[in-house]
Symmetry: C2
Subunit: 242 residues, 2 copies
Amino acid sequence: MTNPKPLALEVCFSPQLIPFTGIKTNVAVVVVDILRATTSIISAVANGVESVIAVSDLEEAKEYKIKGYLVAAERDGSILEFADFGNSAFEFQNGKIAGKPLVFSTTNGTVAVEVGQKLGEVVLGGFSNLSALAQWLACKDKNVLVLCSGWKNTFCLEDAIFSGALVEQLLSTELFTITCDSAFASLDLWKVAKTDVMAYIEKAAHRERLRQLGVDDVLGFSFQQDTTTVVPVLKEGRFVRA
Amino acid sequence: MTNPKPLALEVCFSPQLIPFTGIKTNVAVVVVDILRATTSIISAVANGVESVIAVSDLEEAKEYKIKGYLVAAERDGSILEFADFGNSAFEFQNGKIAGKPLVFSTTNGTVAVEVGQKLGEVVLGGFSNLSALAQWLACKDKNVLVLCSGWKNTFCLEDAIFSGALVEQLLSTELFTITCDSAFASLDLWKVAKTDVMAYIEKAAHRERLRQLGVDDVLGFSFQQDTTTVVPVLKEGRFVRA
């Protein structure tokens, strides 16, 4: 098979499937957790945080708090008593985090970050930084692997349609060739969803979970495109502005 | 969430993701490997084979041959010298297997069968037995988990669109409720694909592999619906007619 476009583009629907992806070298890994970790961390970086440390363990978050860090942590829709913020993207828009490091507790997102950083440079993707991320990736001369955090390691619709939106933008640069079926599927799902994303996502399992927790106020923001141009990249274990 | 339809319906895109599926009890597992294991084994059962033993290991297949079994095994598009048949569905239409057990070598399919049988009753699904399978499942009063074999544990389009076709038929019985995002995604992909399945599948990675091997003659048959009414079920390690 001849391949006129030199860079490979793949999507992985779960951190559990990373060992079986085709891209192994020279890779930028886009970690996606639309509801809500990556959308929220992008929001924090856009609002001037110095850096974000993602942790999966609440005990670890608590230890950071004791050391004096600002901490975002919630369970079942409520801010934990030791934490400064919940996990919603709206928490970081009031200037309180500017210039400071933030510890962000996220189970699904942290798994993906830990798996992704073994493969290559990790960046965070969300609808809020979609076009800026695509432009940044187009300048890197690297293969791109979009890694969906999913829900407890399973496929989730919101991460898949974001992957499709990013695939669509990356293909338009004519630098990339899709080299796996997941990327084609993501693109097709995005084409179905994009005419009315909010209506499409009504059926997503996680959307229902958020409704039950009473924390779905941030839903519209999570699917709003290009509200920022920041691209958070992982440097020495912390997400900083690229 | 109220649930007027009592039975759960899920799709799993890879055997690797089985530990994370929601359905754990009272389950019929539909193993899918459209290109080509399940399509071929359904063909063998439809053509009167006594039973089919799926094996992943060529050495194991060879041992069965020494014991006197008929064996279907190929690598890179060629029948292996010790085997009686290749892996194409067309191999079993000449009556040579009638009334005899057959050993069928399949790497991806066998992984799925081994994983699936730990969860519940295993049946094989393909476009060739789609409607018969849906009817059979509708009478079982069991939750249904559609397990895609995938390609080396990754998502593949042909298994996903078949899953969507089966989900569509099962939903029409009004007995099932979708309880995972993969099932919604499969259904949406099927709705995109179904107006021209052969055109849709042109982009599938495995379709290209088959082209390169020169064994894509069976492709049209693999996507042809309802050419048989047999439903192969796993009984004591062998697939037999339900």
